[in-house]
């Protein structure tokens, strides 16, 4: 089941109210539009957005009782995880937390990403992540499922120090949270150790933001907050550490690294207060407004960073309580600092990896949202189509004039593919790309010629397909709605084309290309092991005579004369033998 499919389309949801699960779709705009606006002067915005954040002292009274309850509920979850995962060596006692963190950090990151890919782009696989405490996530509302995923993925990384009642997250944990483009708030234990399921991502509905701040308000906020968002990363880190001391330094290093990074870096999406999925599980029906809805993350970040009295006050309070820690400064800032440049800042790397959770399996490009990803896959499909339908090698393009360049560069800003890209011949489109049917386990070879089908995974169809295959009795048009049994066995399109199945207009097309078929044959004969056509890499005819027709080269006319063709056919044979090894050597990556 595709998780996203069960959600309302992003377009219908105003960014502010978008479900956090939807957020991936709308994130780009949010991110660019709002997040990035969080420049130096965005304090006003913050105040606007969180009008109720008056000051820590006002807050406790606003906490709704139910919220307190919800805080308590999840309390047991981390411990269960602790038990469940206790054997894997990732849990550390108070004294070893820091080292645990660093030692477990690296390897899991790619795995986390993979998990995300698997979970988000394909089917939900409960087995993979399920813990005894999460029996049936699929029964939850969609957004809860997403959370459930979070919870499950993150659970192994949660390190609970029972003695101190602290919850520690590794960074990759945060990274994975950010993968979902969620900005989560840290677990804020109130009276009791527990997790406050607050999700500021996106929208933190006012009430949610409240609850969060309220939670904070309960904490003594005597520690001065860093008031300047431009505070150099380092110094802030130290400051934070100092604040944390009264509670215990052991916990300082690992909790929510994203928090501190969000302070100095105004515009990085690395502000991650985290809500573990586990914490949410007991509340599927509760629908805390804050947990199910979210603010655009950009705004959230903008708000947090430059807002000393409210949020950084909160954070420092948390630090003071030892509930979160800010040890490792995690961002570079906007100024070049020679010392800072030499240190690995995890947020910088995660911004390039975990923050872009969807990866194109063909080219490795990463995306934040599914929308971007599928757009990219369309681009791949089109490109492949173009490459396949290309009969000869393309010519190098002339560069564009200044006016074209300016308008083209403009066009890039809005929608790619400038108009001056070559118009590609799409005649063969139907033959190859679209002549594919879902792979059938019962039939792996053509019913007519007996040759096995080439299968490939279609990102478009999201299933395995047989290349160049059709149903024997399928009509020319759409087969949607037709019963599989009516369609007959699967055959190669080229095998069927001799029979009745072929639509008349396609036949005409075939005839009209007949004139080119002689040359085609030539090419096939000469092309080395058939390799040339496929990759578009080598085409003896065109490379042999890179001559425009009008140049009337004697060589070219010779090539066309029939006796030479005979010679070439012979040559093609011997060449094939000669070149067989080289074909393997020059095996271009198979795209799609």
């Amino acid at each position: 089941m595709n998780i996203y499919s069960s959600l309302p389309p992003p377009g219908n949801v105003a960014p502010r109210n978008s479900l956090s699960t939807n957020h991936t779709a709308s994130l780009v705009t949010d991110y660019r539009g709002n997040l990035s606006k969080s420049g130096r002067g965005s304090i006003n915005k913050i105040v606007e957005a969180l009008p109720n954040v008056a000051g820590p002292s006002d807050l406790p009274s606003q906490i709704p009782p139910s919220f307190r309850e919800s805080l308590i509920l999840p309390h047991l979850q981390p411990q269960s995880h602790l038990n469940a995962k206790g054997g894997d060596g990732k849990l550390g006692g108070p004294s070893s937390i820091a080292s645990t963190f660093s030692s477990t950090y690296d390897p899991p990151v790619p795995d986390i990403r993979t998990a995300h890919d698997a979970a988000l782009t394909k089917a939900w696989r409960p087995a993979k992540f399920q813990t005894p405490h999460m029996p049936s996530l699929s029964a939850l509302p969609p957004q809860m499922q997403i959370r459930g995923q979070f919870g499950m993925k993150t659970a192994p990384n949660i390190v609970v120090d029972q003695g101190l009642n602290k919850t520690i997250y590794s960074e990759q944990h945060l990274g994975s949270a950010r993968n979902m483009s969620q900005v989560n708030f840290p677990l804020i234990p109130s009276q009791r150790p527990g997790l406050i399921p607050i999700n500021l991502q996106g929208t933190a509905q006012p009430s949610l933001a409240h609850s969060m701040v309220q939670g904070a308000g309960q904490l003594p906020s005597s520690v001065p907050a860093p008031s300047n968002s431009m505070v150099p990363p380092k110094s802030y880190g130290y400051l934070a550490q100092a604040q944390g001391h009264p509670i215990g330094t052991t916990s300082l290093s690992n909790i929510v690294p994203g928090v501190q990074s969000s302070l100095p870096v105004l515009n990085a999406p690395n502000m991650s207060f985290h809500v573990p999925g586990a914490a949410l599980r007991p509340l599927p029906g509760a629908h805390l407004p804050g947990t199910s809805q979210s603010l655009p993350s950009g705004q959230t970040i903008g708000q947090v960073a430059p807002n000393p009295p409210a949020l950084s006050g909160l954070i420092s309070s948390l630090v003071a309580q030892g509930l979160i820690s800010l040890t490792k400064q995690d961002s570079v800032g906007v100024e070049f600092d020679q010392d800072s440049l030499k240190v690995r800042h995890e947020s910088t790397i995660t911004a390039l990896y975990a923050d872009l959770p969807r990866q194109c399996k063909t080219c490795g490009l990463r995306f934040k949202s599914q929308e971007e990803h599928s757009k990219h896959m369309d681009w791949h499909v089109n490109k492949n189509r173009t490459l396949r339908t290309r009969k000869t090698k393309p010519s190098p393009k002339w560069f564009v004039s200044v006016s074209m360049w300016l308008s083209g560069a403009e066009a890039l800003g809005t929608e790619a593919v400038p108009g001056f890209l070559p118009a590609e011949n799409t005649v063969e489109k139907t033959e190859d790309e679209e002549m594919a049917v879902p792979a059938d386990e019962d039939q792996n070879a053509c019913a007519l010629c007996g040759e096995p089908f080439d299968d490939f995974y279609s990102d478009e169809m999201e299933e395995w397909m047989y290349k160049g295959a059709v149903y024997m009795y399928a009509p020319a048009g759409s087969i949607v709605g037709m019963d599989r049994s009516q369609l007959g066995p699967i055959v190669h399109a080229k095998c069927r084309s001799d029979s009745d199945g072929i639509p008349p207009e396609e036949k005409d097309e075939r005839e009209s290309t007949e004139e080119g078929s002689q040359r085609k044959r030539l090419r096939t004969r000469c092309s080395i092991g058939g390799w040339g056509e496929k990759s578009g890499g080598y085409d003896p005819v065109s490379s042999l005579a890179p001559v425009s027709q009008e140049t009337s080269s004697p060589l070219y006319s010779k090539l066309e004369s029939s006796q030479n063709r005979a010679v070439m056919e012979n040559l093609g044979e011997s060449l094939r033998l000669l070149e067989e090894e080289d074909i393997d050597a020059f095996h271009r990556p198979k795209t799609l």
Binding site: A268, G302, F336, F399, W405, L412, S543, S548, F586
Partner: protein, 564 residues
Amino acid sequence: MAYGGTSVAPTGPPGSSTSIRQVKLDKECELRVEVSPDSPLRLRLLTGSAEIFGTEIAPEIWLTFPPRLKFAVFTWYGATIEMDGTTETDYTADETPMISYVNVHAVLDARRHRAKASPSDSDASQGPRVIVVGPTDSGKSTLSRMLLSWAAKQGWKPTFVDLDIGQGSITIPGCIAATPIELPIDPVEGIPLDMPLVYFHGHVTPSVNVDLYKVLVKELAQILERQFTGNVESRAAGMVINTMGWIEGVGYELLLHAIDTFNATVVLVLGQEKLWSMLRDVLKNKANVDVVKLQKSGGVVSRNAKVRQKARAYRIREYFYGLANDLSPHSNIASFSDLFIYRVGGGPQAPRSALPAGAEPAADPTRLIPVSVNQDLLHLVLAVSFAKEPDEIISSNVAGFIWITDINFESKKITYLAPSAGNLPGKYLIMGSLTCLLMFCDSVIKSSAHYRFEIVQTLISEIEPDVHVKRAMNDINADKVSGLGIAQQHQAIGHGLKAFISRPREVFSLLSNVGLFPRVAKFYELELFSLLVGNWEANIVASFFIASFSPFSSPFPLICVLHY
């Protein structure tokens, strides 16, 4: 791009193309590879994550790298890489400046966000304008590429500006160019050629005509300024400017000129403390300019003049034929009277014969001088200008290049290789000193006595060549040309070649007797052959180039058949 590294641990004997091996990379390590000169290398990521110059590679997908390519696979989290094929060198390095590079990116990224958040009419909405400076072979183009790829990965569309006319990483050497970068730069294909804005200087060093260089830089900067005004997204993303390795004297002056002309806000100085402190002092009065010093990567190899020259020749070839011979240029024929060829200003390499009798080379460096068709144009690369009138030539960008492959003075026809068939997109052609032939010759003849020996050996021992051929080969012999200046060497080589190719049939019998080239003949020999035939028949030249540069795709036998 000068990435690669020295020979530390060559793996496997040459020719062991079947050897598949795995390399485990620890966190923050990189695998530096130089593909062997005569066969491609396949590589894929098995586990973990890895990137090549800022562009992440997909797991499990085989990438094919063409011969000679130098690249490095870096991992932030650890990775296992699998390679199939031979390499010239490959080794793992654990000390890289990548962290500082990516941190620079992070700062730039932060500034882009800041710019994007600013009102679009304010100065603050201009994203970072980064200029990468440093001596030759300090990894400037590689750093530029990383910064662009990282930015593109995060969704920005920065503009890449290449002012290094010696390398021409966007198009061909002798040009300055700009292009928007939409996607991380492909590790194999390099900078996409979809829409570059190109200005033609015509020489591989600006010293030939410094004024012209400045004029072109200014023109380019003005167009970019217009683009940034009109396109908010592009404006916020800013640009990355790659520069020449010439940092002394006039070169330094040109750097300052570029920093000033493009209003650079971030100056990244690679690998030289002195340059950094000089620039910092000069620019300290400019409040909004950061001068940042960065380490050069140990993966950067120094290239000597021959290697550079050769790289240039490859760039020109790639323009016409594509990196993997996936492009098909067209050979066209035009009458002398159809072509309007101009040269800008004087310069040491301007042939006197191009001038009216008795005229001295012009003093004004940006003066346009019409050139009549003459033998010196042979093998020259000319740019096709978009200018509508001759006096617009200097300020106009170019549509592309043609390569003169033959001049027939009897029929008054010129044969040239152009990107595509049909009319040229502009009627004015600009001539520089870029030639394909001489650069190839030079690199072949001088780069290695070993190869020269082999060529002669093969040719002369296996067949009994015509006496003209022998003489030509002798002329090519470096013994005869050594001691002369470069220009004279070129001339001597050129004469030798001309004599040689006056006997096309002989050449072909040579070629066929050597035994269907790509297999028997070595790469370098083929390269020379292609030049030898070049003058004789353009169509064949094209094919020969293909074979000569990629031994694995071989139209040769067909050509021979055709000929006989």
